[in-house]
Subunit: 339 residues, 2 copies
DNA sequence: GTTCATCTTGAAATCGATTTCAGTTTGAAT
DNA sequence: ATTCAAACTGAAATCGATTTCAAGATGAAC
């Protein structure tokens, strides 16, 4: 049923090699021959079989991407950046949604391993560094988003979690808060650690003693944030601000406050991270930390593709990008005397 | 550098054919041989080259999906449905984001054509029916979301746009509205037509004369809705309700109203379509039409995969699913005497 | 000890393109 | 007219797996 390159060759009265040359437009073909071949292609409605092409040429012009959750607007933006860069370089992208499950991260990694992709971009918070290094050493092209791996072959792009977390604390303390809750993401994720670290650093700098009862885990999702907030309210500990390690959890905080009749920002200030699309539609609008998500995706994709084509001469490999705090309604209230 | 099946064969002291048999676990292999082979695979860290496998077996266990916009939570949900179903049937999914551009829809269609995928699911509002039929007739397995195509080989799933649009009008009229704006999506999309049709049908049933000045185009996106709403306000025509053909445009309506100091729902009622995640976080919460998005994705994926494996004996092919109006804050206000 | 079905294995063909290598044409330069 | 490099083309090898075909081994039944 399918039309193959030899059918085109026969119809045009040339060899398959010549058809291939026309198809790939590189080497010498007489323009008259080229016309004949193109005519035959059009007549037969021929489409090149990419699987065969890939096998012979040992590449697929495809890169694989593993993310924890495609539905979060954070990764959706990153993916867009990757996709557009890849597209402009004639690469295709396969997205794998690990759905926040560690096992699925590994499963997809193994799937991508079978050379259906030329390289991959990993945003896999739960996968240990050594695992990634191991695969890279095996000869697979890998780039990483969201963490830093010490390895000459692995391009990385990540934000300084510690730095912006400290900024969040600075901001809250500047508004007169001293009892600040930290809502962490799930424990395996590097981001959880680093944001906590920044929070602690911030407290220290302002000489505010650390109170462990003000730290709760919210698993990076809305319901986790909601449950965590309820636990905090039940504990009856005193606090006037909540720093949620992402916007999803902040959403849960909003819900819990609404149910408990607590006003934001008058009674409790809230800050999130990610600048999800939703955050500016909330009432009040949510103060949050913005990362250059799209650019991060684009940069890492470009880096990986460069590496695949060895355009990169020991070029820059590690990218640490800055984030900015966006102050909105949820922290638009000064409490007590300013510091 | 890469380890191939013959390397494994040599190491295990058997032929490549035997290794292949072990790999695919089908036919007779002595358990002792199997062990030797598995040992060799483990020792060498062998990964099968799927490209070669696909070429020989003439399938890729992959389906392609083209959607107008991966960032919209509407399609994100559908994709999740597709992905999970595909995953459970051992298929992979390639997502193509046409970014609401007609040319990209076609471009991706041609890309997927080259047998990298076994079948495809199209949510391509701008692609004409005939084009889709043409490709299907060429022997490509195609399934369609969001419209109905009369063709024995093409599974379809779609919602009854006319029906729910009429329901929206019913709801608004029931609240006392008679001057109802319709905000349409871009003109090429079937959905735009059908939702307009339902709107007209609804007006007719309530003997409300159609006023063309109450229809504006908002291109299915937020800024389009915003601009359209501003045009309407500038025109100084009288209206008390807006039916936006999707939630994105409703978002723009909210923004325009906020800027103009118009209160929702007291001065203007708003209804959207899609039940985007954002819609219930707005103030006021947005009345909207919910579709079983996840299920739609899952059903159409299952149907396509069935067809690929010819499990389907002239089974059901066309699925028309029901949508429900979710009444929320944006229409929570009765004006004048009820009908 | 035959016989015959069932297991078990390997050699070689195959999937559909690309690419190397070598041979032929062409045309400009002498 | 001759020479030689560049332009053009095709035959055949190749990518790395699967699968067919045939042959050899095994073992149960008589």
């Amino acid at each position: 049923m399918d039309i193959k390159i030899v059918d085109v060759a026969n119809k045009a009265g040339v060899s398959p090699a010549t058809v291939s040359r026309v198809l790939n437009g590189n080497s010498y073909v007489k323009s008259k021959t080229r016309e004949k071949v193109n005519q035959a292609i059009a007549d037969l409605g021929y489409h090149r079989n990419d699987v065969a092409k890939n096998l012979r040429s040992q590449k697929s012009m495809t890169i694989g991407v593993i993310v924890p959750d495609v539905n979060s607007s954070y990764f959706a933006e990153i993916i867009k950046g990757i996709e557009n860069m890849a597209y402009s370089r004639k690469y295709r992208v396969i997205i794998c949604d690990a759905e926040n499950q560690k096992e699925k991260e590994l499963e997809y990694l193994n799937l991508l391993m079978s050379r259906t992709v030329d390289g991959m971009i990993l945003a896999t918070p739960a996968l240990p560094d050594e695992e990634i290094v191991r695969y890279s050493d095996k000869g697979y092209a890998i780039a990483v988003i969201g963490r830093h791996i010490e390895h000459a072959e692995i391009p990385c792009i990540y934000t300084d979690n510690v730095k912006f977390s400290k900024q969040v604390v600075d901001h809250l303390v500047g508004l007169g808060h001293r009892d600040i809750v930290f809502l962490s993401g799930y424990a395996e994720a590097v981001d959880s650690f680093e944001r906590l670290e920044g929070y602690l650093k911030g407290l220290k700098e302002h000489q505010i003693p650390f109170r462990p009862e003000l730290v709760e885990n919210g698993n990076f999702n809305e319901s986790g944030g909601y449950e965590a907030m309820k636990r905090l309210l039940d504990k009856k500990v005193k606090f006037t601000a909540v720093y949620a390690a992402n916007d999803e959890m902040a959403l849960g905080v909003y819900k819990a406050c609404r149910e408990a009749g607590i006003r934001i920002p008058e009674e409790i200030a809230v800050v999130g991270v990610d600048n999800n699309r939703i955050s500016k539609y909330l009432t009040p609008t949510l103060s949050t930390v913005n990362q250059p998500k799209y650019a991060m995706g684009a940069v890492i994709a470009e880096k990986l593709i460069d590496q695949l084509n060895e355009d990169a001469f020991s070029d820059k490999r590690v990218f640490k990008v800055d984030s900015e705090l966006i102050v909105r309604g949820s922290t638009d209230f000064r409490r007590g005397p300013a510091s």
